[in-house]
Structure formats: C-alpha cells, structure tokens
C-alpha cells in the first residue's frame, strides 16, 4: 500500500497538496463563522439585553439588573403553565398516536412502507400556517365536524364550541408536530434486527414480553429523538395559540412575540426567551439522563 503511494506521489509536495492539508479549516470556516455571527452572537446580545434597562427611545443600557428575570418568572405564571401543559399534553398525545403508527409501518408496512411514510410526511409539503388555518375551518362552530354532530346527528348542543379553547390549541399542536414524532421512532424501529425478535419468541417470550423487553428498549433512541423534536417546538409555539386559542390560552411564546413586536420591551422579552431556551435544555438533559440515552444526543 505504502509502496504504491510513494510511486504515484511526486517527490515535492505540490501546491494542491499543501492546500489539501488546510482543507478541513477552509471547509469549516465560512459556515461556522455564519453560525457564530448569526446564532451565537445574537444569543450573547440577547443575554446582555436581558440584563439591560431602558426603552426603545432612550436606548437600552446594560445595568446588570435582574428585574427582567424576576418579572419573567413571577408575572407570567399562567403562560408558563399553559406552555408546559399544552406542550406536554401534545407531546404525550403524539407519542401515543405516533408509536403504534411507527411500529406498524416499520414491521407490517410490507411493500406499502414507502407510501405510508410518504403520507406521514405529506403535511410537510404544505405550509405550517395553512395547515393551522385548515384546523380553524375543521374545528369551526359551523365547520364540517361540529355541524355534522350538532345538526345532522343532533348529539351536541347547538352552542357547543371547540375553537378558541385549550382543546383546540392542543389539537393543533398535536397535529402539527406529529410527523416529527413518528419519523425518528420509525427509523429506530426499522433498524431493529428481526432475528432478535425471533430469538425472543424462540425463548418463549410472549409477544408482549418481546415488545416490552426487546423491541421497546431498542426503539428508545427514536422515542427520545421524537419526543424532544416534538416537545421543543410545541413548548415554544405561539401560532397555534394565536390562531386556535383565545387570550386565556396564551403561551409563553405569545408573550415573547408580543413584547418584541408590539410593546418593544426588549429586556423582558430577552429574559423570557433565555429562560425558555434554558428550561428546554435542562428538561432535555434530565430526560436524556432518565432514559439513559445521553450518548445518543451528540
């Protein structure tokens, strides 16, 4: 092997070779600089902003005050609670719906596997906003579902309403992030060596035992990825709460959005954003530890 390289390599390292030695750094620099400038730097700026006081007119000055943080934690209990409850509920619902679907496609999909997968990701081919508007139509007081139940079947009172309630927000969140739950779980399940399941059966494991002791533990990395991919956007979302909810169902994302876009109270909006991000990172870390899949996140 070495001999071949010596014969074909010119004795003097060419310019190309010298450039090749620097190649990884040349390849990395532009993209990493972009992330440094437009991801890390903004986060640092936001941290400074959260420690500032002032208004848009007088300018913001870093005073080291922690008022924004104490406000963020004390004044918005309802909205933090809503985020946690709506985000958590929709993540759990997504898991309960998504796992059987991922399992069925992975193990019983047969030749329809790709078609089924395609239908799972089909919502991605439409706009997130338009999908949410479709839910507005579907859940409307005189929309297809309620009109049918109210007038055709007559099993619901005429003034029954779902839209603008927590149920509507949770159903929107559950819907919008379901594919994020199914795909990673499908990938994990699909990779499982079928012989392991056969071995479990040969060793007199019942199908339930095989599932609980072999299939599910092997699918855990997918469950982990799916739940965090669902929980993070659901927790930080404000579009579903805005279009399908009411002022009572405002989530922490709505507060951040409102403080940034309407009241220009940047310090408190920054503190809220940082706490949201930190809270999610801590939750993910605890969850990873509980599941014992730390090494799979990196």
């Amino acid at each position: 092997m070495t001999a071949v390289v010596v014969v074909t390599t010119p004795p003097r390292p060419s310019l190309l070779r010298r450039v090749a030695r620097l190649a990884p750094y040349i390849l990395l620099t532009p993209g990493l600089l972009w992330l440094l400038y437009f991801f890390i730097w903004p986060l640092a700026q936001m941290t400074l902003m959260s420690l500032s006081s002032g208004t848009l007119d007088s300018g913001f000055h870093v005073t080291g005050t922690l008022k924004s943080f104490s406000d963020a934690l004390t004044k918005f209990g309802t909205q933090w609670g809503n985020s946690l409850i709506f985000g958590g509920t929709s993540t759990i619902l997504d898991f309960l719906i998504g796992f059987p679907v991922a399992y069925t496609i992975a193990f019983k999909g047969g030749r329809y596997k790709n078609l089924l997968l395609f239908m799972v990701i089909a919502p991605f081919f439409t706009s997130f906003l338009i999908r949410t508007i479709s839910w507005q139509i579907l859940l409307g007081d005189e929309g297809p579902v309620l009109a049918f139940l109210k007038h055709t079947l007559g099993i619901l009172p005429v003034d029954f309403s779902i839209l603008y309630s927590p149920v509507a927000v949770v159903s929107g969140l559950t819907y919008n992030f379901l594919p994020f739950m199914i795909l990673p779980m499908y990938v994990a399940l699909e990779k499982i060596d079928f012989r392991l399941l056969e071995a479990a059966g040969d060793l007199y494991g019942s199908s339930w035992q095989t599932f609980r002791r072999v299939t599910f533990p092997l699918a855990l990395p997918g469950v982990f990825a799916g739940t965090i991919l669902t929980f993070i956007p659901a927790m930080g979302d404000y579009v579903n709460a805005e279009l399908l909810g009411s002022p009572k169902t405002r989530m922490i994302g709505n507060v951040i959005q409102g403080r940034f876009m309407q009241s220009t109270d940047y310090p408190s909006a920054s503190a809220l954003s940082l706490l949201l991000m930190l809270g999610i990172l801590v939750a993910v870390a605890i969850y990873a530890r509980a599941l014992g899949t730390e090494e799979l996140t990196g």
């Binding site: 074909t8 190309l16 750094y25 390849l27 990395l28 532009p30 993209g31 972009w34 992330l35 400038y37 437009f38 991801f39 730097w41 903004p42 640092a44 700026q45 936001m46 902003m49 059987p100 679907v101 399992y103 069925t104 019983k108 089924l116 395609f118 239908m119 089909a122 919502p123 991605f124 081919f125 439409t126 706009s127 906003l129 338009i130 999908r131 508007i133 479709s134 409307g140 929309g143 297809p144 819907y175 379901l178 594919p179 990938v187 019942s206 339930w208 599932f211 993070i232 956007p233 930080g236 979302d237 994302g253 951040i256 876009m261 920054s270 954003s273 949201l276 990172l281 996140t297 990196g298």
Partner: protein
C-alpha cells in the same frame, strides 16, 4: 407457509391469553389505528384543497357553499400576493444555495478529516436545531436592533457596514434563513457521507487522479443525492418559515407573512390555491424523484 400454519395451530390450542390478545392487537388494532392516524394527518390537506374550490360568500372562506373554479382561474388576484410569492421564492432559492454550499462544506470536513474541537463543532451544529424557533428569531432581532441603534457589541467586521445595511427586510430574512438551514444541510449530508466507501477514492488516487479530480469524478457524484436531499429540505424549510421570519422581516412580506397579515380581515381562497399548488408541485417532485431513483422519499430526515 406450513411452518406459519403450525405456529398458528400451536398458538390456537395452548397459547396463553396474553399472546392471543397480543396477536389480535397486531392483526386488527394496529392497521386500523394507523389508517386512522394517517387520515388525521391528511384531513387538513384535504380541507385545504377542497376549500380552494369553495364558492364562499363574504370575505371568509370558512363554510362550504358549492364548487367553483373562480380562485384557480385568478390564483394571484389579491393585493400583495404576487410580490409576497416572489419574495418567498427568491429568499428560498438564495438561502438554499448558500446554506447547501456552506453546510456541505462543513459536512465534508466533519466526516473526512480529523481535527481538534470536533465535539464543539457538532454541538454548534446541533444547538440551532434544538433551540425553539422563537428564540432564534428573537435573538436575531436583538442583534439587528442593536446594530441599527449602534448599541450592544457589534460582531467584528459588521461595524464597517453602513447602519442601514442590516435594517429589517430582505437581507435580514436571507441571513436568518441561511442560518437555520445550515444545520439541517450538515446533518443530511453527514448521513449520506457516513456510509461512504473511502476505498473508492483510494482506488481513484491509485489510478493516478489527484485530490481535485477524485473529488469531482468520484466523491461528488456519490454524495450528490445527499446534497440534493439537503437542498430540497432547505428550500421547503425556507419557503414555509413563519416564526423566525416574523421577527426579522420588518415590513417585508414573504408568502407565510402575507397569509398571516391577511387572515385577520379575510380568508381568500387564493391562500388555499397557492397552498394546494405548492403541495402538488412538491408531491409531484417527490413522486418523480422516487420513480427515477426507485428509492424511498427521505427528504424529511
């Protein structure tokens, strides 16, 4: 077939109750449940397409009132819509181009060279995907506001730009879209490269090709499907993005921003028409790619 039959016979006679319940779940419950779940995923799409043909009364396309082709005959007939669509397509094309280039370069560096700080770089790639979109948008807005106010600490180099260069609009949207797309491109390209057989490159080098020729004649054609998948993913993420764009767009309206601004006062069927058209083009593209390649659509990974 025979063995399956005997297994079946055996379980019929002396299997414990648990196993029989398990089998019933596998045979009947799971397929029905999956069909229902997929129906749930597809219903809003059906509603979107159906209501693009709705002959609705008044301003809001909420209640079914009969079939018409009105909206499809004038798909752009709403003030601001053509401009918004054009802006979205331009931003999507440009951000896809840059993000795919930058992301592929990082993906290549991470999979084929060893150097210090790899863990740190992987973390830097992972973090934007693990952050809530609202935080990405809000922090970028903070940066841009600080720059325009001359406050905070401007990143080195950006201070030379005129203050208005980063005022909210086209440039800031593009910057944001490139930023959030890079990580997705890196992950997609890396997935393709990880199964790459390095011996093919060694063979090319043994046959006298230099690095440059080897890259373009061997490496690039082999990883091209991965790059293409990454580019398609980046394009669809960009054209659909609302949350981050909402923070950094100022008064510019991309298509999702335009939809958001319109739906307070009206719900024109044109929204459904454009949504359906994008959906059909995307589905057609995937179907075509699947036919050509004869493999599964894996765009969403």
């Amino acid at each position: 077939m025979t063995s399956a039959a005997t297994t079946y016979a055996r379980t019929r006679t002396n299997a414990p109750v648990g196993r029989r319940v398990g089998r019933a779940i596998g045979r009947r419950f799971l397929p029905v449940f999956t069909a229902l779940a997929i129906g749930y995923l597809l219903i809003p799409i059906v509603v979107m397409i159906l209501f693009s043909f709705n002959d609705y009364q008044g301003k809001f396309n909420f209640i079914w009132n009969g079939f018409t082709l009105k909206a499809w005959e004038a798909p752009l007939a709403w003030p601001g819509l053509p401009e918004a669509l054009k802006l979205s397509l331009t931003i999507a094309a440009l951000s896809t181009l840059f993000a795919t280039l930058l992301g592929t370069m990082i993906g290549l560096a991470l999979t084929r060279y060893s150097f210090r700080g790899r863990g740190l770089i992987n973390g830097l790639i992972f973090l934007p995907m693990a952050s809530p979109e609202i935080v990405l948008g809000a922090s970028l807005l903070t940066l841009f506001i600080n720059i325009s106010l001359g406050a905070g600490i401007t990143p080195p180099g950006l201070g030379f730009l005129p203050k208005t260069a980063l005022s909210l609009g086209f440039t800031t949207i593009l910057i944001a879209h490139i930023m959030f797309n890079i990580s997705y491109v890196v992950v997609t390209v890396k997935a393709r490269l990880s199964g790459f057989d390095r011996r093919l490159e060694e063979a090319a080098m043994d046959l006298g090709a230099n690095e440059w020729m080897t890259f373009w004649k061997v490496t690039f054609p082999l990883i091209f499907p991965g790059i293409l998948a990454a580019a398609l993913l980046a394009f669809s993420l960009s054209i659909d993005d609302f949350v981050i764009t909402n923070f950094v767009s100022g008064t510019s309206l991309t298509f999702p921003m335009w939809v958001y601004s319109v739906i307070r006062n009206a719900l024109p069927a044109q929204i459904n028409v454009i949504g359906s058209a994008i959906f059909l083009v995307a589905v057609g593209g995937v179907a075509l790619a699947t036919l050509i390649q004869g493999r599964a659509p894996r765009l969403a990974r």
